[in-house]
């Protein structure tokens, strides 16, 4: 981390309350360009609410979010996406009637910003097809390219999720539980896949699978009751008494 410490995403004093519930209670977060930063915390810690605020689906009550040197706190989700913030969803959000390839093509089409074009068929654009195929290869799903997403297995849908997020050549990748609902074997495969992305992207990884988190993360931030209680390297987090008490328990020791 020492060589390049340019901050890509900076969150400070973020607050969001729903009635009496303080879902986000003063979150500070700093993502350095090129790192894999894991966000962990027990259920109900406010991870999903935080992600929603980072990608612009929810407006925070207070605090600021700076992305790539620009204050994006008031920017809606689609404009943040155009700035290079790309995300995957905890519960798969894809177009079920489109093929895997078409889902990636949609992502590519919206990246170039030429989607308001009502005549030519993107499926007949060889350049776009090749590019989309490339990203499916990248996640190991090339042979299922023309299968409708609704006919894919759960693990395959997760791979498409990743391909869709990657295809935009994002500045920042927000991965919301990429291993959600996966078996041991699939999780291991996904971990391998993500390891291959390390250093090529700045990644904020929200994940419950501790094996995956410790294998991938350069740094971790622990979120408990909407508050960031600690940020450090995996080794520091493992040995931090407060974190162990709050979250890791005995199994991770």
């Amino acid at each position: 981390m020492a060589a390049d410490t340019r901050s890509l995403l900076q969150v400070s004093g973020l607050r969001k309350t729903f009635g009496a519930v303080k879902a986000t209670d003063g979150v500070d977060l700093n993502l350095i360009e090129g790192e894999v930063h894991a966000l962990i915390g027990p259920n109900g810690a406010g991870k999903s609410t935080l992600i929603a605020q980072l990608c612009g689906e929810l407006r925070p009550d207070a605090g600021t979010i700076t992305f790539d040197g620009v204050d994006v706190t008031a920017l809606p989700a689609h404009l943040r996406a155009r700035k290079g913030l790309s995300r995957s969803f905890q519960i798969t959000e894809l177009c079920p009637d489109f093929s895997a390839l078409e889902n990636v093509m949609l992502s590519l089409t919206l990246t170039s910003g030429r989607a308001f074009q009502a005549w030519s068929d993107p499926r007949r654009d060889p350049k776009l097809m090749t590019a989309a195929q490339h990203w499916l290869e990248e996640v190991g799903l090339a042979e299922r390219a023309n299968t409708r997403v609704s006919d894919l297995a759960h693990g395959e849908k997760r791979q498409v999720e990743l391909a869709v997020a990657l295809a935009r050549a994002p500045r920042l990748l927000l991965l919301d539980e990429p291993m959600a609902g996966m078996g041991v074997e699939e999780s291991a495969r996904m971990t391998q896949l993500l390891l291959g992305l390390k250093r090529r992207y700045t990644i904020l990884l929200v994940e419950h699978d501790m094996d995956a988190v410790f294998a991938l993360a350069d740094r971790l931030t622990v979120l408990v009751y909407g508050r960031t209680i600690f940020t450090g390297t995996p080794e520091e987090v493992r040995n931090h008494p407060e974190v162990r008490a709050a979250y890791l328990g005995e199994e991770a020791c």
Partner: protein, 342 residues
Amino acid sequence: MTTLDSRRPVAPSASWTRIEMSRSAWAALFGLLVLVLVPTGAELAGTPYAINLVTRFMIYGLAAVSLDLVLGYGAMVSFGHAMFFGLGGYVTAIVAHHALEAGPLFGWSGSMQALVVWPLALACCALLGAGVGYLALRTRGVQFIMITLAFGQLVYFVLMSLKVYGGDDGLMMSQRNVVPGLDLEKPVVFFYVCLALLVIWTFLCSRIVASRFGMVLQALRQSERRTINLGAAPTPYRLSAFVLSAMGTGLAGALWANFAGLVTPDMASWTKSGELMAIVIFGGVGTLLGPIAGAAVFLGLEELLASWTEHWMLVMGPILVLVVLAGRNGLFGRWLGGAHGR
């Protein structure tokens, strides 16, 4: 950097979209052939009345294709689409009324030229569509249905209250519009004009739904959250589709005014909206061609049953229910491979 051994190239021709497209292209060709032969066949069979009957199918087909664009591809359940049918018809009839009988309208003496009047009708529908769409698209689901219904009723009652233009009796259009070189008064000529417009409009719509724009429009239907997070603002896409759809329905209204020689507020009533929606669902939502066939079957059945009993709705209702229960893709949706799955 993949860990799987799945780098084999895939033949792009295996895409399901392409297979389905060629099948619907084949269906389009077949349908076109049948329609082209209708006038000759009707003359030979000694039933010239059939020409007018099929003309009616095509006009409703045009409106149904337009409704399918928002209903099937944009998942916008517009329950007020008859307002555009009514407006298109009234603009045409009112301009003709001023040209033939009444004095000038705001200093304009009116016109019978189709190439002037029909674009004018389309422009009015586009304006109304933009306004209604802009307001209705702030809502979702049931609210969207209710708002479009409310605007539809608003237009209906405005037309009812236009005493100058016949109020609830409607307005006669004693002559058809004029196109240089064509005599629209002849049923055969009018038939082919309607057919040409139906073909052009359907082709246009099929290009639009297959384009990048159409891809985003359909993506918004399938997963709005995903599409927004890829950088698309939903309203411009949906509103454009809504305006286009309003124009197509308005064109059908203009043709109807010419065909029937009469426009009535009923053209904009909510029952007409329901009828259009029933035709689309009947034929297959999200298939474009399905609704055209749906219009023929729906209106044909109506004609047949009405000649048999005046309580034809008693029979029509259960048939509609059966078709909807049998499959959410309508009569032809499964076969044409609609936008809503197979």
